[in-house]
Each structure stands twice: as C-alpha cells, then as structure tokens.
C-alpha cells in the first residue's frame, strides 16, 4: 500500500487506510445483501423440497385409467392420466396431466409412461403398428417396452399397475401410479 511509505503514526495514513477498507467492506455488504437473497430467489426450485411438481391425487399415487375390458389382448392403448396438479400458484382440479400406454396379456397389464426416455417428447404408436415410436428423434420401442433402436438411452419407463375389483364384479379397474423420470440417462430415476 502506498500509505505505508508514510510514517506509521501519521493520522492521514490511518484515515486513508480506513477509507479504503471501509469502502471495500461497505461495497461488499451492498453486494451481498442483493446477491444472497437474489440467488436464493432464483434457486428456489432446487432449494425448496417439494417444488412445484405437486401432483398428488389419491394418497398412494395410483390413479384409475380404464377398465380391463377396455383393452384387447396384445393391443396397446393410450389413456390420459387425470390428476390434480399445482402449477406454481394455480391449483388445478382433475385434469389430464400426462399419458400412459397400457397393454394386456391375459390378466396381466403393463403400463408405460408415454414420456420418451430420450428427451421427453410424447411416444405414439409406430407406423407399422407393432411398436411404439417417438416422432421427435425416431426412438422406437417394442410392445415389451424395450428399445428397438439406439436413439433412446433406455427402454420405455414402466409404471406400477394395480388391478382393483370393481363394485360390479368381474371387470376390474386398472390403476396406474404415474411418475416422471429423468430423461437421457440409462437409469430410470424418478424426478422428485
């Protein structure tokens, strides 16, 4: 510091040093007071635990989507998932929040999220009718959910299915637990 060349006892030096240090300190306080809450504000989605995802319908997360009789053996059908959802400050009543593909083999029902594991587009039925196909980057999947080409990082994301006896008896209801998963990674990681 240039002040140090003067005699250490000089009152002018002390004042200069004080001015320098104080300016830096005050300036930093100013900056921090704006930066810290500002950063927290921007980072709020990762700092806040349950974010805005909010979709919580039935307590266990299973939602009815169709009846077993709606499905023909081996022919997949797509159903919208109805659920309450929160979009930041708006709370929506039951609305379609996503789609699932369901396919039946005998009494066994498998459900796949229609969200493409590649980059999140919606997976439809392939032109050949014997596969699932994503219109974005041509990911293709078999009816068993396995990837059929090398575009997607993993197969389609299967969802938990439950069959619930219906009041009338033999046509059970299909319940599906709808979740979203991280895209573009080989492992199926639920988003929380």
């Amino acid at each position: 510091m240039d002040g140090s060349s003067l005699t250490p006892t000089s009152p002018g030096t002390d004042r200069r040093t004080f001015h320098k240090i104080a300016s830096v300190v005050f300036g930093s306080i100013l900056g921090l007071v704006l930066t810290i809450p500002g950063a927290a504000f921007v980072l709020s989605p990762v700092l806040k635990r349950s974010g805005s995802s909010g979709d919580s319908g039935a307590d266990d997360g299973f939602r009815p989507i169709a009846k077993l009789s709606d499905l023909e053996e081996g022919i997949p059908r797509v159903f919208p998932i109805l659920g309450k959802s929160t979009d930041a400050w708006v709370r929506y009543p039951e609305e379609p929040i996503g789609s699932v593909w369901v396919i039946r083999k005998g009494k066994e029902v498998t459900a796949y999220s229609a969200e493409c594991p590649h980059l999140g587009c919606a997976v439809g039925l392939g032109p050949d009718g014997n596969s699932f196909y994503c219109p974005c980057h041509t990911s293709s999947f078999g009816f068993d959910g396995q990837a059929k080409n090398k575009i997607p990082p993993r197969g389609m994301d299967s969802l938990e299915v439950k069959l619930a006896a219906s009041p009338s008896g033999d046509d059970p209801e299909i319940l599906v637990k709808f979740l979203r998963f991280r895209t573009a990674v080989p492992e199926k990681t639920p988003l929380v």
Binding site: S52, D70, D87, V90, P96, G124, L125, C136
Partner: protein, 609 residues
Amino acid sequence: MFKRLSDWLDDRTGYRHLLEEALDEPVKGGARWRYVFGSAVTTAFMIQLVTGVLLMTSYSPSSSTAWGSVYFISYEMVGGWFVRGLHHFGAQAMVVLLFLHLLQVLIAGAYRSPREVNWWLGMVLLFITLAFSLTGYLLPWDQKGYWATKVATNIMGITPVVGPYVQKVVVGGNEYGNQTLTRFYGIHVGVLPGLLVLTLAAHIAVFRRHGVTAPEKATGSDPFWPKQVFMDTVASLAVLGVVAFFAIAERGAPLDAPAEPSSSDYPARPEWYFLSLFQMLKRPEFAGENEIIGAIIVPGAIVTALFAFPLLDKIFPRKLGHFLACSLVFALVGVAGLLTMQAWKEDAANADFQVTRAKADVARKRALFLAGHPEAGVPPEGSRYVLLNDPLYAGSSVLERKCLSCHYYDGKGVLERGHDGKMVMTKQIAADLKGFGTRPWLEGLLANPSDAKYFGSTPQLSGMAQWKKTTKLKPDELKTVTDFVAEFAKVGDEETIDDWLSRNEISEHPGLELFKKDCGRCHTVDAEGILGEGGEVEAPNLFGWGSPRWVRRMIRHPNAADRYGYLEEKDQMPGFGQTELSDREMSVLIRLFSGQYVPDDPATAAAGH
C-alpha cells in the same frame, strides 16, 4: 437563436465533442460495403427491441394466459400481426446477420491480435442471441414452443453433475408451467437485453479502439460520416425491408394450438437454424449412451474451437492459422447445411411425421377458430381449455376413447389396429350417437327402430321394434307424440315430474294422452302413472329423455332400474363413474350429442374436402 441554444447545450453537456468523436472516426482504407454487417446486426437488434417492447405491452406470461394474449396480438389487435411478424422474422434475421458478420470477420482475419477480445465479445453476443431465440420460442405457450422447450431443457439436463440442477432452476421445478414461463420471460425481456446492450457497448468500444481491418492494399481513409454511415443505413434499410417482406408474406408469425401436456404424439421441431443440431440427435452415434456426445461434447468442442481462434496464431504461422480457422468454419457450415437438408428430407419422406403434423394442424386451426368465435373465445380457466371445453374437438376424442368400441358416431366406429397390424373398423353393437336425444334422432328411431343406427345392432333391445309392429298411431298422431317426447329434452336439472307436468305447455300438450295410451304401456315416467302404467315390456324411464340429466344418468348408471337394468348382464352397457369420465368430459360429450357446439370453420371444412 438555434445557434445560441445549441452553444448553451454544448457548454453544459459537451455533446458536439461526443458527436464528432462518433462521426468523424476515420475508417482506415476507406468506407466499404463489407463493413456493414455489424451495423446490420445492430439494426436487427433495434427492430427486436422496439417490437419486443410493443409486444410486452400486450403479452401476459402465465400458462393460462400466454397463448390467449398472443392470439389476441396476432388476430385481434390493429397491426398486431405485423409487429409480431417483425419480431419473429427479425429474430431470424439477427441470427443470419450475426453469422454473416462472423464470416466477414473471419475471412478478413479480424479476429486476430490485437482484436482477440472483440472476437470473444462477438462470440458472447452470438450466444446471447441464441438464448434469446430459445427463450422466445416458448413464450406463446403453444404446442410448438412447449415441446421444443421440453427437449431443449432436457438436453441441458444431460450436462454432467450440474445439469439436472440447472434444468430445474431454468424450468422452475420438474413440471413445465407458470414458473417456466415467468422465468423464460424474465430472461428474455430483462436479463438478455441488459447483457446484450452491455456486451454490444463493449464490442463497439473495443472496435473503435482498433478500427476496421482494412485489406492490405487499401490506402487512404474516410471519416465514418457520411460515406460509411450511408452504406450502413442502406444495409439497415435492406434488413428492415427483408424482415417486413417476410412478415407480410407470411401474414405475421405462426401460432400453434395451445400447449397440451397430455398430447400423445406431438412432433416437436426446433427453429430452422437449430435443425442441424436436432438432426444430429437422431443419429445413433450421438444418441442412446452417446447422447452426451451429440448434445454437449460436440457443440461444446465447436464453441471452444471458435473461442480459441485468436490463439491459433500463437501455435501456427499466421497464414496457416487463418487457413485452419476458415476451413474449420466452412467445414462446419457444410456439415450443418447437410444435416439441415437431411432433417427436412426425412420429415418430408416420413409418413408418420405427416400424420402427426396433420393432427396437430387440425388442433391448431380449431383452436384459432374457436378463440376468435363470438360464441367460444378463450375461457377464464386458461387457453388450454379452448380445446378441452370444445365438444367437437375434446368431445370427439372422449367419444373415440370411451364410446366407439361399441357405439358408432355418424355411421362410423374407430379404426383399430388388429393383430395383423391392419386397421379395421370396430363392430357396431350399440346405437349411433350422432344427435342422440335430439328430435331428428327420435324421429328416425320412431320411423325405423330396427335400423342399425338405433337399436338394430344392439342385442336384446327389441322392444321398440315390437312397438313399431303393433302401434296403432296414425302418422299425424305419431308426429304429435314425437313433439311430446321431444319436450323431455327440455327438462331442467332441478325440475321434478310434478313441476314439469304443471307447466302449461305440457299439461295441455295434445301428445300427452297419446303418449300415455301408446308409449306408457311399456315406459313409466312417474310413480302415479299419470303418463302410463308401463310394464307391458320392460323399458327405461323416459322422464327427461335427451336432457343432460337423462344422458348423464344413462352414462353413469346405465344399469339402474330406471335405465337398462333389465338387460342380461352380458349385454349391459358398462357404467362410467367420475374416474372414467370427468365432469368436464361428460359435459363435452353431452353437448356433442345434442349439437351444442361451434360448428367446423367453413373455411377449413371446405379445404378438407
């Protein structure tokens, strides 16, 4: 007088000096057309700034209002389509011009020492511009922006370690919605313009410090004003002309259907200048496990290389470094061009893309038509409900999913893919629902109950056919009865039988007695038997037939005692509870049957034939 005023002003502000500084700046080697690109980009940015601020005064960033406000700007406001068109094509002009500017700088070697910092500032400007484009694409909150943004932000999430967090911060959570829009909006209209203006100011200041990079043989010099200013102005005018031309030729900017997160096959495509990157993701080398290569590493390497250009001279002889830099960029342009062509060609040849795009266009046209229709419009719940509340669009989709595996609508079931992969029409085993509950449907039923359209295709429902054979009603009496039954459709939700019967038009209706004598033999309506005792053949209760409450009960409880509970179980219609059919879906279905909806746009209907 003016002189004194300007003298005074100059004394207080020193503006003349500033002006001279700006205008008399010497252009070494003389003014040239090739120096206009920087100004052209700035002009494009000015167009964006002006139109952008105008759009801000009418745009409303939330998932429920964004689409509607953009619709309003584009289709209702005076000149709105033009302002938005200028902004849309101005954005593309900015990208193109920036790129041309970059090429010019590259070819002239103007990125080299001592102008390294300005090259880097230019790079930053390029990324700010691309960020403008990415964030702006989402703002209309239409299908196109929604799905493209989903893909783009998922790509962001691939970045190792920080990716998922960055994605969550940018999206404002895991779901795309209000927070995504407000964030993108804030970035688009606040952060990026601020950054761009600062960087541009620095860019121009540094440029002034070093001046233009004149060709080696060039001699002499011109002041900036007026020759170079003239050239720059001509170029700027040309930019505006081209942008305005596209805005007018395309009648503004496109607007797709409102974002619908539950769509099951929207074919997302990015803006055309991102198509080469998009096409790369479709190649197996850059997909699957190698996703990170195509999405992060390759673009990252390109960016790093561009940034490193000024340093090439430190390693290679000057000429060679320049040659390498130019070759790299031209090779990139070539590859990008090829990939873009390929993306276009593949889409043009892809039948599935055409089908999904055509489906998306149907939604788009219907949404735009409804939004502008005096009897529809954008509902207060949000733009998404333009289509979700539309009997014709949403009702038809509910119908296809829930009803047409047994019923027909307008003579058709649904095409379903059989086991052999061929499309087959479902078999009709229940009535045709087109116009169900309306007077024409009723007339048809009473004229020929065993027609496939009515009960001909439904097992066990032979009661009406028997009636047809045995009825003694004369044609004019039949018409009177029809009139009477048609009154049922007007029964209100809260109305009791007594309320209804005490209405004059009912109690004095000439058809009442006929109904009692003929229909009342089988159908009961009221407990006291005022409208007949019923019971000859089992039949549903007709009170309110065709009204929303009757149809609702028919769908929710088809096998109740007052409906078709008497049928054998195997022939019963399954009931649809709240979980299978929401109230909104029910409402659109009922309005679809009774024809209470805005009809098809005559323009698109005609084009479809």
